[in-house]
Each structure stands twice: as C-alpha cells, then as structure tokens.
Amino acid sequence: MLRFIGRRAALSLVTLVILILVIFLLTRVFPSEPARQLAGPFAPQERVDELNETLGLNDPLPVQFGNLLADVLTLSFGESFSQPGVEVLDLVRPALWNSAKLVMFALVLTVPLSILGGVVAARRKDTLVDRAIVNFGLASASIPEFVSAVIFQYVIGVRLGWLPATTLIPDDASIFTELRYLLLPALSIVLVYFGYIARITRAGTITALESDYTRTAYMKGLNTSSVVRRHVLKNSLQPTVAVTGTQIGYLFGGLVGLELVFNYPGLGNLILRAATAPDFPLLQAAVITVAIIFMLSTLAADLLIAWMNPRARLNVGAG
C-alpha cells in the first residue's frame, strides 16, 4: 500500500508540473508585454520597465519557469496587481475557504442522494422508476449550472421568497443561517451532479448485481439488503468514488458562472476577476490552487478505491 501511495503521488506531481507549465505559458509567455498590460496603456515606459524588473520578466523563460516552481513550493506568490500591497495568498485563502464551504455542503447533499438514485435505478433496471431517474439525470446534468442558478434564483429566491436570492451572508450569521444562504447555489450544483453521479453508480451497481459473488451471496442465504450492503456497494461504488474525486476539483474552480449569479466570493469568482483585471500573480496562484485541490482529491479517491479493492493497487499509472 505504501508503494502504491508513493507511485501515485509521484504521478500527481508530474501532472502538476505540466499544468504549472501550461499556466506559465498562458500568463507569462503568450501575453505580449504582460507588464504593459498590468501597468495600463497610458503608463510611462519607466513604470513598465520597473514592472519587468520586479516581476523578473527580463529573465530568460526557463529561469522564469524555475522561479514560478520555486514560488509554488514556498507558497510565495507575491503581491496582487489589482490590489497593490495585498499579498496574493491573503486573497486566495478566504476564497478557498468559501469554495470549500459551498462544495462540501453541495457534496453532502448530492452524493447520498445520487447514490440512492443510482442504486434504486439499478435494482429496478428497465422499469419506469429506472427510466425516470436516468432521464431526469440526463436532462438536469445537461443544463449549465449558471442557467439553473438563474432559474432557481428567480423562482425560489425572488418569486417564492423561500430562500435568500444572494449569498451576501451577514457577518454575525449562525451556521444555520449561513447554510440557508448557501442552499440555493448548492441546489444548482445538486441538479448538475445528481445525474452524473447517479448514472455512474447505476452502471457500477448493475455490473456488481450481475456478478458471481453477488449470486454466491444470495445462494448462501443472505437477504437482498445485506447482499447490497455487504457485497454490492463496496464494488459498485468504486466508479462513484473516482468520479466524485474528479468532480471535487472541478467544483472548486469551475463554478464561475454560478458564483457570479449568486455573487459568491469563491475561487471561481476570484479567478474571473483576476483574469479580467488582469492580475497575473493572483491568477497564477488561484489556478494553481485549483490544480492542487484536483490532485489531492483524485489522489484521495484513488487511495479510497485501493482500500476498497486491493486489485486496484496493482495498475497505477496504467490508465
């Protein structure tokens, strides 16, 4: 198991370095004159030269890339450009915390619901219930999250007034008030991911239900619920765990539209602001943060799967 963790972590690191290279290309190499862009079109040339010097933009590109990697290792991304004097990390940290709250809340709602949906659909394969769950999932997962956010915001938040339509949470709010504010954005996430996770769970469960060990379990006299609980789920949930691990990374940074609709100060909103400013140090730090979270969550998912299924420990790096 230790060797598995080591190999798996090494692969994650390689992926992360490649990704930092891509981010480096997009923020340092492709923009013509990033310093000019940062200083603004009417800034004096001296200011641009000064920026080039302080940012290290005059160094050869490989040196710059090495510096960026060192920055990531030491977590020193420097100062923000849109808000001079503010450390980039001090902007990323609260956004990361906000995203974490929303993502965790959404997952707590989505995962049990979709697993239940997927297992029910698999148990009643090809019945009306199955078809209803599958088709609802397909439709709801097709709707971009900002679209469902806009619709929920209007119908539930504005028209019916059941839940707050924005996420401008009062400072002294209790945890329950806070969750109430997060419920609408979380519901939009549930809508997108229910279909996705339920579908994977359904497929996994159908395979597990048709397998030999399930038949053996039935034949040794177990009733249906213990067969499902003890034998089927442990196998059928492996794809579900893998997909959820992947999706956590997307949820931290990919909900730009949803965060914009609800004015939520998460990582997606931060990245959008950093990109349009443009604030390259902030953009780098925020996107690399998303990438690191993706690495960690997929790593955690793979370890969980390896724990559930010893065979999975053998083929690391094969897929």
Binding site: F146, G254, I271, A275
Partner: protein, 322 residues
C-alpha cells in the same frame, strides 16, 4: 466490440490476395474478416431501425431540428427582427412582461425577447458544432497515432492530456480568451483546443483495443504501412465511438460557449442576438427589477438545446454498444 463496421478491409484484402501469394494464416484471417463483413451491413440497418424507435433520439432530433430551422431561417418564426422594437399603437413598449404583443416580453430597449431567442440560435449553432468538429478531427488524429504506435510519444502526450484534464475547462477558457482576445474565431479555436484532450483520450483507448484484433494483425502481416492501417483499417471501426464523442462534445461546446458569453468574455456588440450574451446583459434585472423574462427564456433555450443534443448522443451510444 465484436460488431464492427469495416467496409475498407474486406475489399483491400481480396485485392491483395490476387496480387501476391500469401501465407495460409493471413488467408484464414482475411476469410474470417470477409464473412464478418456481410453481417455488419445487416447490423447497421438494424441499428438505424433501433435508433428511430428510441423515443429519446426522436425527441432530441425534433428539438435540435427546431433550433436548426431557427438558425437557418429565423424570419420564418420570429414575428419581429432581432433588433426591432415592439410597437403598440405607434409607441415602443419596453420592459413589458409576456403578453399577446410580445410572447416572451420585451427587453430594456423594447426588443421582442421571443424574436431574439429565435434569432439567437444561429450564433451558438455556428460556433459550437464547428469547435466540436475541430476538436474531434484533432483528437481523432492524435488518438489514432497514440493508440496505434504507443511508445514514448504516447507516454508524454498522455501525461500532458492528464494535466490539461485536471483543471476545469472553463478556467483554461477564461485564461485563453483574456490572452488572445474574445472574437468568435478565438472562441471556436479555444473551445476546440480545450476539447481535444478529451476526444484524444476516448479515441486512443478505442484504437488501442482495436489494434489488438485479428484484422489489424492480418493487415500488418500483409505488410501494410502504419498510416494505411490506421486510416483504412482501424478508423472505420472506431467511427461509432467518434460519432458519439462528437455529439457529446457539441453539447459541451454549447454549454461552454454559453458560459463564457455569460461571464462577459465573448465579444458582444449588444445587437447580435446570442443566448449567452443576452442572459449576461439582463440577469441583473431579475433581482433589481423583477424582470425575469429577458434572461429566463434564453436560459431555457440553452437548456433545451443541450438536453436535445445529449439525448441524441445518449441514444447513439446505447445503440452502438447494444
């Protein structure tokens, strides 16, 4: 996996057989391939019939077909122009909710929301399928080479693809548009580039599975060149996978392009009707003025189109794997 479409290999096999004396095992393999070919034609006809009897497929085609008609001849269905103010008794009615004069209401400057939704289909139906097609072509070529030759190039490209897939498409999209500008061409190329890794991964694994089958071994023994085997032997057998992947990508492209437009990153001159841009420009009115119609209707249009495309993709996939 066993049911494969391979119109190419049967004919070429016979041609080659006439030209040169060939070892017995090759002849045997070719004979097996030839008998399988007859079955395939039947299977394909069967699948077409099955597809037309899938309710999801028919529904998807009807909805998507409706939007395609809107994109080609919007004037047929739209009562007003995309930038034509609705007038009642000579005066412009702006900010009005849905009524008999304007079914989906009017926006802040009096444009008919219904007509704008109809006209708006064109923009997304040009950009999304183009981007998906470019990604499919690039991904197919890369996937063929990676899956057939394997080796170190496959290893390195595979790592790069993993890395690109480990960050939300929308984030890379935002960064690219900020760097390269926000014209329609840039958006198409950006989405195409961002989708290429996914397509490559799908095609690569399909090709890798095909490359181990008898007909490929047979072609290798005949001394066919690598490009010939990839394009004439393997490619026809993975078309099913590629068609499904393309359809899925069209859905995601609509999704992604609409999101980028919603984020205010697509070029927007306020006159060209575009669902994403229109929502972006009007969704603030929901909360401030309780005007939901200029944003909710284009939102529903996006949702219906993506659902339709995914229904088609889903049915194609089911029929292919049945």
């Amino acid at each position: 996996m066993t049911a494969i479409d391979d119109p190419g290999s049967e004919a070429t096999g016979e041609e080659r057989a006439a030209e040169t004396p060939i070892p017995d095992e090759v002849a045997e393999l070719d004979a097996a391939v030839a008998t399988a070919a007859a079955e395939r034609k039947q299977i394909r006809a069967e699948r077409r019939r099955l597809l037309l009897r899938t309710p999801g497929f028919v529904l998807g085609v009807v909805i998507a077909g409706f939007w395609v008609i809107c994109a080609i001849v919007p004037g047929l269905l739209a009562p007003y122009g995309a930038n034509e103010a609705v007038r009642v008794d000579g005066s412009v009615i702006a900010r009005q909710g849905p009524s008999a004069d304007a079914w989906f209401g009017t926006d802040t400057i009096g444009n008919d929301v219904f007509s704008r939704v109809i006209f708006g289909a064109r923009s997304v139906l040009i950009t999304a399928p183009t981007a998906a097609a470019l990604a499919t072509i690039a991904g197919t070529m890369l996937g063929l080479v990676m899956g057939y030759y394997r080796g170190w190039a496959d290893e390195i490209l595979g790592r790069i693809i993993e890395a690109l897939l480990s960050i939300p498409v929308i984030l890379l999209g935002i960064m690219t548009l900020v760097v390269f500008g926000n014209s329609r061409i840039v958006i198409i190329l950006t989405v195409a580039t961002l989708f290429t890794p996914v397509v490559t991964r799908t095609v690569r694994s399909a090709v890798q599975a095909e490359a181990q089958l008898d007909y490929v071994t047979s072609a290798k023994l005949r001394g066919e060149s690598g490009p010939f085997i990839m394009l004439r032997e393997i490619l026809p057998n993975v078309t099913g996978v590629i068609v499904v992947e393309f359809t899925v990508r069209v859905g995601y492209a609509i999704f992604t392009i609409a999101t980028l437009a919603f984020l205010g990153l697509a070029a927007d001159d306020f006159t060209t009707p575009d669902w994403g841009n229109d929502i972006s420009n009007t969704y603030n009115l929901i909360q401030s003025n309780n005007q939901w119609w200029p944003s909710i209707f284009p939102a529903l249009a996006i949702a219906s189109l993506v659902i339709a495309v995914n229904l088609i993709a889903d049915s194609l996939d089911k029929v292919r794997s049945s």
